[in-house]
Amino acid sequence: MFINLVQVFLVENFTPYSALLGGALIGLSVTLLLLFNGRMAGISGIMKGLFNAPQDERVWRFTFLCGLIIGAIIFQQIMPDFVVPRQGYPLWLMALGGFFVGIGTRLGNGCTSGHGICGIANLSKRSIFATLTFMGFGMLTVYVIRHVL
């Protein structure tokens, strides 16, 4: 057990502090949206509503998603070499993955943010079950791709 833990912390690129701080920023963001606008910041739900919510509900969704993009741009200006883009991953696999993410988040009413953060913070049983399920299937999928195929 102890040796396993030591190995974990020796993994190259283990970045707990930036992850913790980045997570705290996400926590701050979802808090702002709930406190002022009364909304749960579930990204897949916001994306969906961009096209099929009532007209007056679309503008804030659009600006929120623009904010996501602007935040990433600002970050890249400050720390240009921090996020290294992946090279050479087949785009058809991205398309397949995205298609599954699209169907799955609509069918299950949420993704990492809506269920994994907002829902769990709100102690929603649905979100806890959903999060365990997508984490489990994510791990299983990576296991199959990396160690079986």
Partner: protein, 139 residues
């Protein structure tokens, strides 16, 4: 107008958080999901950080009778664990494992000029429309 500003600000902070935490890095996401290989647990700390803040703040915020700029909170009232929830979450997990992207990082990745993110966003929307079409056919 104020609500639009809050949405923008909240989005920017979310985008900064996704970038700093490296949720936008699919290699990092897959290393986190690869529990049977060279497991990199970093991204568990994203959830810990986000939940430490939101778990406390949600308790305080939801004590209020209403949000600051709206008449009421928009919360899901559903409590049932149904087949759609679990099937959907499983499919999302599979897609997440294949691509290394969930919806937030896919959008944020657009700002990093990432072609993978663009493919991801387009195919997520394709999935949305397919699911809606399928739902209509079944019902």
């Amino acid at each position: 107008m104020k609500k639009i500003f809050i949405a923008l600000l909240s989005g920017i902070i979310f985008g900064l958080g996704l970038s700093l935490s490296q949720m936008v890095n699919p290699d990092k996401v897959i290393a986190f999901l690869d529990v049977f290989g060279q497991w990199d647990p970093s991204l568990a700390f994203v959830m810990i950080g986000a939940l430490l803040v939101s778990f406390i703040s949600f308790r305080l915020v939801l004590k209020r009778p209403e949000p600051i700029l709206e008449q009421s909170f928009h919360l899901s009232a559903r409590k049932d664990i149904d087949k759609a929830l679990l099937t959907g979450a499983a499919m999302f997990g599979i897609g997440w494992g294949i691509s290394g992207f969930c919806p937030g990082p896919a959008i944020a990745g657009l700002g990093m000029g990432n072609i993978e993110a663009l493919v991801m966003v387009v195919s997520i929307y394709a999935g949305f429309f397919f699911q809606r079409w399928l739902g209509k056919i079944i019902s």
